[in-house]
């Protein structure tokens, strides 16, 4: 196999893996979500793709693994290896600008910047922190949280007080 072929294969494999849709937020690709950490082609032709879980209990992880492997095999890479990467942990900051745009387009408010904290004990704040989440339908900032937990771990439930529509919000983590 020539060097040129290897390079082309690596690009092609990376593109195939990047375009796999997320099982729970299918408007996003795994690359948009930021869970596809790396795709490489080993000298023997094995494609090695590295994935990271969003939440520890994310039940979609096995499906993501299976989907990436199946798509790569269908694209002509018979040998596929999926690695799990835990470090550094995924945060919502890994969602790409393109991913955020697609979320908003589908009526899901994208997350703000993930909380940054200094090393050491995590402070407990009991006063309500007012977040400005714009309604993904009408754009109004007059919105309120109805539940911090929603149909999936990564989302919260919100309501717009201007257009009265409920909406989901990918919460910062």
């Amino acid at each position: 196999m020539s060097a040129v072929t290897v390079l082309t294969d690596a690009h092609r494999a990376a593109r195939v893996a990047a375009e796999v849709p997320d099982p729970e937020l299918p408007m996003l690709t795994l690359a948009d979500l930021g869970v596809l950490r790396d795709v490489e082609v080993a000298p023997d032709g094995t494609v090695v793709a590295a994935l990271t879980p969003t939440y520890s209990g994310c039940p979609a992880m096995a499906e993501m693994r299976a989907d990436v492997a199946a798509r790569l095999r269908a694209a002509g890479f018979p040998r596929v290896e999926i690695r799990t990467v835990l470090d550094p942990p995924w945060t919502t900051d890994w969602i790409t600008p393109e991913g955020r745009r697609k979320l908003a387009e589908h009526g899901i408010a994208p997350p703000g910047p993930a909380p940054r904290r200094a090393a050491g004990p995590v402070p407990l704040v009991l006063t309500t922190i007012r977040r400005a989440v714009a309604c993904p339908r009408c754009g109004s900032a007059d919105t309120e949280e109805t539940s911090r937990f929603a149909a999936t771990s990564c989302k919260a439930l919100w309501r717009c007080r201007a257009c009265l529509e409920p909406f989901e919000y990918v919460k910062e983590i």
């Binding site: 939440y55 520890s56 994310c58 096995a62 299976a66 999926i82 937990f149 983590i173």
Partner: protein, 285 residues
């Protein structure tokens, strides 16, 4: 799925392509493809014991939280409790997988969750107490999430095993949400009506005899026990003061969950959790 018979094809092969998340469906090894070597200088038996203890805390807590499904006071709270349980279940799976890699037995997560007897469990006893009312469940979640957050935050920085450190680092953000949820409910109920105050106070009082167990070296699994005690006590005081509730204090219970001392409540919990797996060992569907 190429097979004509859907059940056959689900059971077939047991590989990634048919993976589903439940006993017998072949979704295993959440640490798939992670570098599993034990670093030099790390005591494998001790590391395995820590992973097992923290995994047992999480599995038992997740099972108790799942008991709220269809019974929570509001749909939103039900979803929240299920989400928190799911996070803990995920942490348990990662920790069991790590334990199996380093304790020399090569057991998978199912072997730890489904095939051990109550006496083999090493969770703290607070985790296994029955759900009680919503106030007790919030009191317990406040204590256990404050404690687990303090432990995980330290392990993320100081654990010599990079896999345990990574599992802990991942859990810190999740546990921050859990503690926040429990703290807000404790304040809301403590500072609410006479009845909600009474029940929140009773819930916290019920956790008190189990607190001391959390602050021993055996409980904190390699995280500095004095630091954990200081942090958790301060967080609890912050919440109870805001809620207008007395500090959580009581004579500690003798014995220790990490040494295998159990309450009478773990056996029935495990009977339900393990029933299908024990009735049909090795079954797939």
């Amino acid at each position: 799925m190429s097979d004509e018979h859907v059940y056959l094809s689900l059971a077939e092969g047991h590989d990634d392509s048919d993976a589903r998340w439940a006993f017998g469906t072949g979704f295993e090894d959440p640490l798939h493809g992670v570098d599993t070597a034990v670093p030099e200088g790390v005591d494998a038996a001790e590391l395995a014991a820590h992973c097992l203890a923290l995994g047992d805390d999480a599995l038992v807590a997740a099972q108790r939280l799942a008991e709220w499904c269809t019974r929570a006071p509001e749909l939103e709270e039900e979803v929240a409790l299920a989400n928190i349980g799911l996070d803990l279940l995920g942490q348990a799976r990662l920790l069991y997988s790590r334990a199996g890699q380093v304790d020399g037995t090569g057991r998978d997560e199912d072997a730890y969750a489904y095939l051990r007897d109550p006496a083999d469990f090493r969770n703290v006893r607070l985790a296994e107490l029955p759900c009680g009312d919503f106030a007790f469940s919030m009191a317990r979640l406040l204590v256990t999430s404050s404690w687990r957050l303090a432990v995980f935050e330290r392990l993320a920085r100081t654990a010599q095993d990079p896999v345990l450190a990574a599992i802990a680092a991942k859990g810190v953000n999740e546990l921050t949400y859990h503690r926040q949820y429990a703290a807000e409910w404790t304040v809301r109920l403590g500072d609410g009506t006479e009845e909600s105050h009474r029940r929140m106070r009773a819930g916290l009082e019920q956790t008190a005899p189990y607190l001391e167990e959390l602050f021993t070296a055996a409980a904190t699994c390699g995280a500095d026990p004095a630091g954990v005690r200081h942090e958790v006590t301060a967080a609890l005081r912050q919440v109870t003061e805001a809620a207008g509730l007395p500090a959580v204090e009581a004579e500690p219970l003798p014995g220790h969950g990490r040494e295998g001392d159990r309450t009478e409540h773990l056996a029935p919990l495990l009977a339900e959790l393990q029933g299908i797996a024990r009735a049909h060992p090795g079954a797939v569907w």
